[in-house]
């Protein structure tokens, strides 16, 4: 009898529940987000207003879209440090096409996103075929692309046609369009990464690259595709953000790469690869957005945002590492 009781107790004890919540990053994040929202809601009556919540979601749309691509890369065991620069670059290209070349907005958008995909393809080929480390490749390209932005738009381009601005300004069913772009992209890739036989291979590559290759997975090709997706999504985000701001600014997207990686790791990704979901990356971004919003509502200096978010990241990964150690 006692062993049975122990067994049951072992299963449902508070310790094991906490343990399993912390180890499942998605549950952990949901819990944090709920606690944070409850705290914010009871402290500030403006928090649970429709306007505020819509603003929170709108603000995370750009980071969420970029983090989808970042998550796919992290699942395969890599990351892309160029996302911020690519975002700025594609915005600049779109603005240039519209302002200097007088192109139709849809053509400008197409060229801008394609340029993002091309940078991704270049990154992917150098990393996967030539064998340059992805971190070093990212560091180099981050600087190169940022420099090119300055060369082509100088201090920025502020005259953009209204049709282009509508990309961001329009609403559908009461929500601003960027929210819809985010929802469609996140749902599509969440589904693909879960169910599609092509995307599923990224988990195998991240789990064991050599074994994946011996299983007949064309690892270099898969890697190139993942960098192209990341470049393309950064490109889409760049167009949306440029339209939202009604201007192309040379500093657009600086620091995005680290923010995006932080969100994904919070959401359950591992730098070693093999883990992570799009839901996780979204929750990571949402959590960071909520903290940001809370800082603004409570008029706390914005520098606290990075301290709080990074601090929670540090605590989460430390507890995770300690739990893994104690298991062995």
């Amino acid at each position: 009898m006692t062993t049975l009781e122990n067994h049951i107790e072992g299963r449902f004890s508070v310790g094991t529940v906490i343990r399993s919540i912390i180890q499942n990053r998605v549950l952990f994040l949901i819990l944090l987000i709920v606690l944070l929202s409850l705290f914010a809601g009871t402290t500030y009556d403006t928090f649970f207003t429709q306007a505020n919540l819509k603003a929170v979601i709108l603000n995370i749309a750009i980071d969420s879209i970029v983090s989808v691509g970042m998550m796919i890369l992290l699942v395969s065991g890599m990351f892309d440090l160029t996302v911020g620069s690519v975002l700025g670059f594609t915005g600049a290209i779109a603005a240039l096409c519209l302002d200097k070349l007088g192109m139709h907005p849809s053509l400008a958008v197409l060229i801008a996103v394609a340029s993002g995909v091309c940078i991704g393809a270049f990154n992917g080929i150098i990393v996967a075929k030539v064998g340059v480390n992805h971190l070093i490749m990212g560091l180099a390209m981050l600087g190169v692309v940022r420099g090119i932005i300055l060369l082509i738009i100088g201090s920025g381009i502020h005259r953009l046609p209204v049709e282009f601005l509508n990309i961001s300004d329009g609403t559908f069913l009461g929500f601003r369009l960027p929210i819809w772009y985010m929802v469609v992209i996140a749902l599509f890739f969440a589904f693909m990464l879960r169910k599609n036989n092509f995307f599923r291979r990224y988990y195998y590559i991240g789990g064991n690259e050599k074994a994946a290759a011996f299983s007949g997975i064309n690892v270099p090709m898969m890697r190139i595709v993942s960098f192209m997706i990341s470049g393309g999504l950064s490109g889409i985000a760049g167009v949306i953000l440029t339209a939202k701001l009604a201007a192309s600014i040379p500093t657009l997207g600086t620091g995005l790469e680290l923010r995006s990686i932080t969100a994904c790791i919070l959401g359950g990704a591992s730098l070693a690869g093999g883990y992570g979901t799009i839901l996780g990356s979204f929750l990571g971004v949402l959590f960071m957005g909520l903290v940001n919003n809370l800082m603004i509502v409570s008029r706390v200096a914005i520098s606290w945002q990075s301290i709080v978010v990074s601090g929670i990241l540090l605590i989460a990964v430390t507890i995770d590492a300690l739990l893994k150690k104690s298991e062995q």
Partner: protein, 502 residues
Amino acid sequence: MGKQSYIVFQGITKTFPGVKALDDVSFSISAGEVHAIVGENGAGKSTLINVVAGNYHPDSGQLEIKGKQEKIRNYAEALDMGISVVYQERSLVPNLSVAENIFADRQPRTFCGFINKKKMYAESEKICESIKLDVRPNTLVGNLIPAKQQMVEIAKALSNDSELLILDEPTATITENETEILFRVIKELKRKGISIIYISHRLQEIFNIADRVTVLKDGKYVGTRVISEVKVGDVIRMMVGRDIYAEKYRSSLKEEKVLEVRNFSSKKFHDVSFELKHGEVLCFAGLAGAGRSEVARAVIGADPLEEGEIYIHGTRKRIANPEQAIENGIGYLPEDRKEQGLFLEMAISKNIVSGNLDSVSKNQIINEKEVQRVSEEYREKLRIICPSVTTKVKQLSGGNQQKIVFAKWLLANPEILIVDEPTRGIDVGAKAEIYRIIRELASQGTSIIVISSDLPEVLTLSDRIIVMYNGTITGELTRHEATEENIMHLASGFERKEEMMV
């Protein structure tokens, strides 16, 4: 023994989960002798070295060094007692100089605490001179030929005032000409009264350089012989002759040629040609490092090839990577299943379908129910023992892990399957099941290449045996001609019968 013993092993036993790596081993090594230790893979040679080096602690038994009982707790203590090991994997830093490598852990210092380069160079020169090694102390190790790197490794060990030097497969990575240089150094050391334990698969070398040879088999001591009083054949007979699995399988091969490899050459092997028939089990026997895995990897396009052609059903094919190999119906089960075959952190079911995701997908969408069904099917078929198919692979035993790799390839169902060391590190019961799976596959028409260093396994499984030594094929035997002795002769580099009689 007229000479005084330097080290005496008394009843050394060391058990690992599931294996008795050393079982009551007793013998002695005299001062100033070159003492070879031989045995098949898994005979216990490495475990013995690790016991002497203090890396493993024996479960029972004693070590006596220079007449005194000693306990060696770690490698630092072994070094203090004058025991140094030169391992197979070189521990040198290629972009540092010879002197810096020799004094890696204890560079001489000046009085203000900086490295005393002058003294370091002078002492390195002295050590190198003492073993007649002509390298300048400021040369970068990476610029030396492999044999001289090996010498530097020995110099490093000697700089520690060693009295016993253990050389683990010292010639595995150097050419035959370079071996001469090594042997000169060994003779010099012997003259100085240093004892040497020489571990090698290559019997030829042992008959060249050793004074005595000790044979281990399955962790047990078989005997020690004076080299000048024995023949190669005697030593081989001591090494082999284990119980062979009683079960012999009926051949299922047909005359139709499925695969033909012509004149394969690369840096690791030379002019390798063979063919494989429908439903045949062809074993590649040989010692570790003979180039068998390298040939297999070249066949599937995982390693570069300098020359050679490959034909499947008589048509010439180009295979540039494993994906193309699978498209051409060739599957490969790698030697190191944990490193190259499995996704340890992933569920059993996900591993099983990893080689053929398309077969469990409909319209590009993976059908989880189908994944589950297929996994359960193979779990039953191959008797994989696990709590459930969602268990992570890393939690299973070696035998069950290997069955999962087999399940994966059964699902992918290639026409040709290359299996590299299918039963390494697997217990006897699981071994028999793996054999059954391989033979069953062959009887269903799959053509199989098995690379194995386990002689009884080769004799049990094969229709035909190809033996490799040092990157070339030294012989081919049918299952009727093959015995452990004649395979071992070929695998040790003796090509003709006459040489066997030496």
